[in-house]
């Protein structure tokens, strides 16, 4: 109501009065902005900001799905600290990350360098490797569960072609995690492959050729020409892969259900189990927050560390 006066200002201010003309326009824009932003603002406030804070609140309570709630303070967190299952679950998740992230990065970067701009059918490889990134994770994991079965392709292939008796991959506490990592790499490396491949596209061929004429070998060309230009992409891929790998859920859920025992249970599976199997929401929320803090810490470390090796001015 009060701002009505601004809307009756002449649509085109006389030249020279830029200042006077700008202000009402700014205020008018402000009102329109409110309308344009409303759906996202309301949605994000209700479904992201509020739940984030609420999660912190719930984690301080004994909060069963049904029934009486009681304030506990930090008891849920100290319970987690002393729960051998939670400790094991954190360890499993870290093990997954430590195996998965470097392997994923090395394979995707290696292939992106190998399948360079001059390779025939390059687009085909990009599409091909990207397919499992997009297909439903549950379907991918189902395929690999069959592959890893006793009598499945890997087992029968090893026996027929190499005469080796394969272990029961998913039922063995030694092999289950490597199996999950293998499946996850097959599923996920196409993403980073595309990131790196797009970055390598930006490296000028002329620079590579002149380096070659100057006698630089393959490794030197990579180290001194390509690497400095793709460090921002490496940083992006590393950070993103780290974040998402800490959140691993569907692969172990489908492949092993966290077993044998809890040897492949991850933090997110723990959150799910606490919340929807044991119906203790407070504990689930606390575990979720622990994961959040781990992820924030890793991301912060990445951003601090990047100053030493990421090159933005090329």
């Amino acid at each position: 109501m009060v701002t009505n006066t601004t809307t009756v200002a002449p649509p085109s201010a006389p030249p020279g009065s830029v200042r006077a003309g700008r202000r009402p326009a700014l205020r008018r824009d402000g009102r329109y902005a409110g309308v344009f932003l409303a759906p996202s603002l309301i949605g994000l406030a209700l479904f992201t900001l509020f739940p984030t804070l609420m999660a912190l609140g719930i984690s301080l309570f004994d909060w069963p799905v049904f029934g009486e709630r009681a304030f506990l303070g930090l008891d849920n967190y100290s319970h987690l600290l002393h729960d051998p299952v939670f400790r094991r679950v954190v360890l499993n998740t870290v093990l997954f990350v430590v195996l998965y992230v470097p392997l994923n990065l090395v394979i995707s970067l290696g292939l992106a360098l190998w399948i360079g701009p001059k390779t025939k059918g390059r687009q085909l490889f990009r599409v091909l490797f990207f397919i499992p990134v997009m297909t439903p994770m549950v379907a991918n994991a189902m395929v690999w569960r069959l592959l890893f079965q006793p009598g499945g392709l890997i087992d029968s292939g090893l026996q027929t072609w190499f005469g080796i008796d394969a272990p029961n991959f998913l039922g063995s506490s030694t092999w289950a995690m490597p199996a999950i990592v293998t499946m996850s790499i097959w599923q996920g490396f196409g993403y980073n492959f595309l990131v790196f491949s797009a970055a390598i596209d930006q490296v000028p061929q002329s620079q590579l050729e002149s380096a070659q004429i100057d006698g630089a070998g393959v490794l030197q060309r990579f180290r001194y020409v390509i690497w400095p230009m793709i460090t921002p992409s490496i940083f992006f891929a590393t950070t993103l892969t780290l974040i998402t790998s800490f959140q691993v859920f569907a692969q172990p859920f489908i492949l092993t259900q966290g077993g044998p025992g809890v040897s492949t249970q991850t933090i997110v599976m723990y959150v799910y189990n606490q919340g929807w199997q044991f119906l203790t929401m407070g504990l689930a929320s606390a575990a979720g927050w622990v994961l959040f803090v781990i992820i924030m810490g890793i991301t912060a470390m990445q951003f601090v560390g990047q100053r030493k090796w990421v090159n933005y001015d090329v």
Partner: protein
């Protein structure tokens, strides 16, 4: 001299030929699991596990694909997934194109700070949100409803970010000319910006659809009556537990779940790079 030069050329040709053959082998190995899945989906049930690997069973059983639909209500799961993914994508595209326009084109106080806050919400992993989200759904009476499958994850700053970047590349003169002609922000948004942003919106649409289509954790939590409200991934997970595992039917169902996404990837192959950000963290 010429023979030396041609020897160098032949050497390079041989090397690139060998490299190409190796690459094709890598691609075949990569495709192996999918080929095996298709092959299993066409085998009779008692030929899934054989001592030696076989690409084909004694017959090609297309009937498995039809049987998957009667073994579990997969028709229902597909319809549910389709409905949820389309509705969710619609909300994402409308909400994020509107806010992206505001951030790219409208001047208002606190714009930069608000945008940083938007991006900040991307930091919060879904796992932190699921507990309070479940409680919120309980409070709204939305547990086991389509609302709960669609709305909670339909407001993400990814779309806003992606489309804002695109809107910023549109020359300001285009819009200014229209504004001088008395065209307000709404018409300028609908008539000028949205049509220009079609490629970016297509990317956002496809990637959002795919992320809804594949989402698993949230449906697993929020859907109680899988038979009627279940989505495809939920159906698949459920399917595996029933009466032993019918691997041939399960592979048929998995392949069917993959087909729409494979087609979309092929359709959008030229624009995959642009969608990387949407997929990167958006896998909910």
């Amino acid at each position: 001299m010429t023979s030396e030069a041609s020897a160098g050329v032949t050497g390079r040709r041989i090397r690139s030929g060998v490299s190409h053959i190796l690459l094709i082998l890598v691609a075949i190995a990569f495709l192996g699991p999918l080929v095996y899945a298709v092959s299993t989906s066409l085998k009779p049930a008692d030929e899934v596990f054989t001592p030696a690997p076989h690409l084909f069973g004694s017959e090609i059983r297309w009937q498995n694909y039809a049987d998957a639909f009667t073994f579990a209500p997969f028709g229902r799961y597909f319809l549910n997934s389709l409905f949820v993914a389309i509705a969710g994508t619609l909300v994402v595209v409308v909400a994020s194109s509107m806010s992206a326009y505001a951030f790219a084109r409208l001047r208002f106080r606190g714009r930069e700070q608000l945008f940083v806050l938007f991006l900040g919400t991307l930091m919060v992993p879904q796992e932190v949100l699921i507990v309070p989200m479940y409680w919120l759904m309980q409070s709204l009476g939305w547990v086991d409803s389509y609302w709960a499958l669609i709305l909670p994850w339909a407001f993400t700053a990814f779309g806003t970010f992606l489309l804002r970047q695109f809107f910023l590349t549109v020359p300001a003169e285009l819009e200014e000319a229209a504004r001088v002609d008395g065209c307000g922000p709404f018409r300028s948004f609908l008539r000028i910006m949205l049509p220009l942003a079609r490629p970016a919106i297509a990317v956002l649409t496809v990637f959002t659809f795919i992320s809804f289509w594949g989402s698993f954790l949230w449906p697993l939590i929020i859907v109680n009556s899988v038979e009627t409200k279940g989505t495809v991934p939920l159906g698949l997970a459920q399917f595996s537990g029933q009466q032993g595992t019918q691997w041939n039917l399960m592979m048929a169902a998995s392949i069917m779940a993959m087909i729409p996404t494979v087609l979309l990837v092929i359709l959008l192959q030229k624009h995959l790079v642009r969608g990387l950000l949407v997929t990167g963290l958006g896998g909910r």
